[in-house]
């Protein structure tokens, strides 16, 4: 016997067992109707619960996005100030926030699908409960006891199957929502602690190392992007400023200027800013004799 028939028999056995418990056919009808109304309430509450959960995830996604934007901003500022270490830290955290955000997007889609399924299930159950109520009144009014029993069994099997189906749908939605809430709680705590870089504690070592490698390369590419942006905002001030201006071009800053999506306002209010980005972008081997305290910064070349 195939899977389809076996599942059907399991459902049927369930309905028969419930029917056997009833002695009076009228009792069966009324009791079953009562149970149907309860299930309807339950499935509607289920829809509301999933919706609440979905909204919470939505809120968190917004918060994470803001966090990522803020960290990006901080990284840009840190780099502008020549504090690459701080920029690196901010970008590492941003990468972490971004990966949480990507995770949440997937979960969000799942919750949305679950909400739709439950809504449709609730409509289907409502239609069947209405049909059952009509049938119940007809059976009570018209048929002899023997006839009634047959008709009751038919109506009962049909609705019982639907109730089993809807009951499982609610269970599945509850499981998904519970998982989601546990996750949301964890992310809340993470955000509150401000330690978005401390994720992945439960993963195995190799995964952690791979994540680290990927995060590192994210940070490197972000650093390159920010350097490009800063370099792109600088050339106007640097035009005709001697050997350092040429170094800027050789540095590749110009080529990125075309495609850089973000152009920060020219820092005219703060003249020394034109020096700092240049300093940060200074490649090894550039004559630095005219820069103050050049001998104190041998680590700049290795970065």
């Amino acid at each position: 016997m195939g899977v389809m028939k076996r599942v059907q028999l399991v459902f049927k056995a369930k309905a028969n067992k419930a029917l056997d418990k009833m002695e009076d056919p009228r009792e069966t009808l009324d009791y079953s109707y009562q149970r149907q109304l309860e299930l309807l309430t339950k499935v509607r509450r289920g829809v509301a619960d999933v919706a609440t959960s979905r909204k919470r995830v939505e809120l968190q996604m917004n918060q994470l996005q803001q966090q990522a934007n803020k960290l990006d901003d901080q990284a840009r500022k840190a780099l502008g100030l020549g504090r690459e270490d701080l920029a690196r830290d901010a970008l590492t955290r941003k990468s972490s926030a971004q990966s949480q955000l990507n995770d949440l997007q997937g979960q969000y889609a799942q919750l949305q699908a679950e909400e739709e399924k439950l809504t449709v299930a609730s409509q289907r159950l409502q239609a069947k409960v209405d049909a059952f109520r009509t049938r119940k009144e007809t059976i009570k009014a018209t048929y002899t006891a023997a006839e009634a029993q047959t008709r009751i069994n038919e109506a009962f099997s049909g609705i019982s199957e639907e109730m089993g189906d809807v009951g499982m749908a609610i269970q599945r939605a509850e499981d998904k929502t519970a998982q989601m809430q546990a996750r949301a709680g964890a992310i809340d705590e993470l955000m509150a602690s401000g330690a978005l870089d401390d994720v992945g504690g439960r993963r195995d070592d190799i995964q952690a190392e791979l994540d680290q490698l990927s995060a590192n390369s994210d940070v490197e590419s972000e650093l390159r992007r920010l350097r490009g942006e800063i370099a792109a905002s600088a050339p106007k001030q640097l035009e005709g400023s001697g050997p350092n201006g040429d170094a800027q071009v050789a540095n590749g800053g110009q080529s990125q200027a075309q495609s850089a999506p973000y152009a920060p306002p020219a820092p005219t209010q703060n003249p020394q800013n034109t020096q700092n980005p240049q300093q940060a972008a200074q490649p090894a081997g550039i004559p630095v004799s005219d820069l103050p305290s050049a001998n104190d910064q041998p680590q700049d070349g290795e970065g």
């Binding site: 028939k5 076996r6 059907q8 299930a121 199957e161 189906d165």
Partner: protein, 92 residues
């Protein structure tokens, strides 16, 4: 013949489609017995697609019980095993 897909509702399927359905159903059963997850997913997906393509949805206010019942689209093999052996999986 009435076929229910759990989570989706009931479909009326012409009896002529039975051979094809049984064929896929046997594949599904074999996959569950062997614990072959990829084969299980293939068979389940094929079976559901077949019912949806061949069948016409029953109006929601019908009270007819189904002749055959199929697991949810996103069922795991473990869930289907429980569905077959453990009545506890169906609430109520």
């Amino acid at each position: 013949m009435i076929v229910r897909i759990l989570g989706e509702g009931q479909f009326r399927v012409d009896d002529t489609a039975t051979t094809e359905l049984n064929h896929l159903d046997t594949a599904l059963e074999t996959a569950v017995e062997r614990g072959d997850e990829p084969a299980f997913q293939d068979a389940l997906t094929g079976l559901l697609a077949q019912v949806r393509a061949q069948g016409s949805p029953l109006p929601p206010d019908t009270l007819e019980p189904s002749d055959l019942i199929l697991p949810h689209q996103d069922s795991s093999m473990d869930e289907v095993r429980k569905l077959l052996t453990d009545e506890g999986l169906i609430p109520g």
